[in-house]
Amino acid sequence: MSEKVLMKGNEALAEAAIRAGCRSFFGYPITPQTEVAAYMAKRMPKEGGIYLQAESEVAAINMVYGASAAGARVMTSSSSPGISLKGEGISYMAGADLPGVIINVQRGGPGLGGIQPSQADYFQATKATGHGDFHLIVLAPSTVQEMADTVYDAFDLADTYRTPVMILADGMLGQMMEPVVLPERKTEFTPKPWAVTGTKGKRPHNVITSLHLQPEDLERTNIERYERYDRIKATEQRAEEYLTEDADIVLVAFGATSRIARSAVNKARAAGIKAGLIRPITLWPFPTDAINRAAETASAFLTVEMNMGQMVEDVRLTVCGKKPVEFFGRAGGIIPTPAETLTVIERIAADLAGGAN
C-alpha cells in the first residue's frame, strides 16, 4: 500500500486518474479546478501521456470524444460554466456509448456566478447534462481521499458500462488539503474491440456515431441504453449511512455539505435528538435503496445542500409522501454551518414533538 501523503483535492484526483490508467487529458482553464489541469500538464509528459489545453471547453470535450473513440482512458476537468459548454459533447458521448470521465469542480451560478463552492449543478449532472434521453453515472466525493478513490473507480465504471462518468466535486473539496493514500497503478483494462484504431485489414470498419436516422433504430438504441441504466441502478447505488438505524430525523447531504451535516448530526445527538445522515456517493444512480430503508423508520428527512434545493426533489420522489422532506441550503458560494443546520434540526424535532401531542 502507498504511504499517506498530504495533497490538495484537485491534485489527489489528478494523480489517482493517472494511476487509473488515464493518459489523455484535455482541458481549458477555469477557477476553481485549475490545479487539475496544471497537475496534468506537469505529469502527463512524464507518463508518456497527452496533455492538451484546448481552445475552448467545447473543443476539450470533443477531444475527449475523439480520444475515447480511439480507445483511450480520457478525462477532462472544468467548473460549472464550462460544463454547460461541454453539454453538447457529453450528449454525443452518451449517444455514441463512449466512456470518459468529466470532472465538475462546482462554483456558484447561474451565469458567470461566482468562484466559491457550490452544489448548484446537481440538476444538470443528474437530469439533463445535454440534450436527449441519457444519464451519466455521477459520483460525489466528500473528502480528499474520496476525490482520489471516486475518480479511480470512475474509469472502470465508464468502461464497463460504456458511458461518460462525472465526478461532481466542489471548490471546497478541490482546494482543501488532507492526508490521502493514493491507489495502486492499474494494469488491467477492459478490452475495447469497438474502438477506431484502424482496421489493419482484419475486420470490418468500426464506426462511432450517435446518428440513427430511422426512428425504430434510434428508439432501439435508447431502449438498450436504458436497460443498461437499469442494471446500473440495480448494482451501482452507493451511499454512506451514519447513525440512521434509530434516527428520527435523517439528513441527506452529499459532497462537502455532508461533512457539515455530519457535524450537525453529532451536535443534535449531543442535544438528545436522534438524528442520522445518508450521504449519497452516487448521485446517479440515486441511492433510493438507502433512502427507502430510512423512510420505513425515520419520522422526517432534511436535505442540506449548497444550492436553492435540488437533491431534495429526488429525496421527495423516493420517499413519495410517506414522510415529510425538508430542505436547508445556502447558495452563492456560502457554506452552511453546522450551527445553523442544527437550528433547523431542532425546529423539525420540535415540530415532530408538537405533532405527537
Partner: protein, 294 residues
Amino acid sequence: METIFKRPESLTDAQFSYCPGCTHGIVHRLIAETLDELGVEGTTVGVAPVGCSVLAYDFFACDMVQAAHGRAPAVATALKRTLPGNVVFAYQGDGDLASIGMAETVHAASRGERITIIFINNAIYGMTGGQMAPTSLPAQVTQTSPYGRDVAADGYPIRVCEMLSTLDGVALAQRVSVDTPRNVRAAKKAIKKAFEYQVDDVGYTIIEVVSTCPTNWGLSPSDALQWLRDNLLPYYPLGVYRDVKADGYANVAEAALARAEALAAEVAGPAAAPAATPAPAAATAGTKGGADNG
C-alpha cells in the same frame, strides 16, 4: 481482360446518398483512391461532419467517427494524438468548417495537428435545405438570404485557405475544384500530397474543394458546374496558398522559425538586421495564390 477501372478498396459497397450532380461522390472517390495508393486504409481513421456528408462513415471502408457540428478538427486532433501512427482525416462542409466550427478549424491549424482536412465549399448549407453559408457569395440568393446576401448586414464570405495560410502550423493549404477532368486530376494530386505530408509529419494540411450544390442552387448539374466557374472560382481562386515543402522547408517548425526570424529582422530594420539567417529565397517565391494548381 485487364481491369483498368474499379471501385477503390477504401470505399464500402454502400450506394452514395448524394443528389445527382453533387461533387461529394467525386471527392470521396479521390480520397479513397489516395488511401488505396498510399496503402493506409487499414491504419486510417476518418471523421464525418454534420451536413450532407454526415453519412460518409457508411461510404469509407476505414474506421470512422461521426463528430458534432463543427467539431471534427477537435475530434481528429484527439484521434491523431492518441494514434500517432495512424492517418487521420476529417471531411467537412462550409457551414461545419467555417461557421460553427471555425474556432476548432483555426486552432487545429495553428497547432499544426498532423491531420488532413478535406473542405467542401459549395457556398450553401445543403442538408438543411439551402441556407446562407459563411462562404455564400455577395448577393447570392439562399433560403435565408432571399434578397441576396447583403454584405452590409451579413458580412463578407470567408476565404478559408487564404486565412489559414497565415498560420504557422499549416503545411499545405490548397484550393482545388472537380468541375473538369483536368481539375479532377489536379484535385487528386493535391489530396494525395496532403495525405503524404501527414504521413511524413510535415504539418496540418487542408484541401478546399470548390463544389456544387445543384439541388439547392436550383440548377441542373451541368449549369451548376458553369455557375461554379462563372461565380465561385473568381471569388475563390484555385491555387496553393501555403506549401512549406515547396517553400524549401522540411516541416512547419522550420517554416515557422524562418518566418519568425524574417519578421524580427524586418522589425529591427536594415541597420540592425544580422547578416545571417535571412529567409530562404524560396520562402517568398514558393507559395502564393493564383493559377498554380499543381
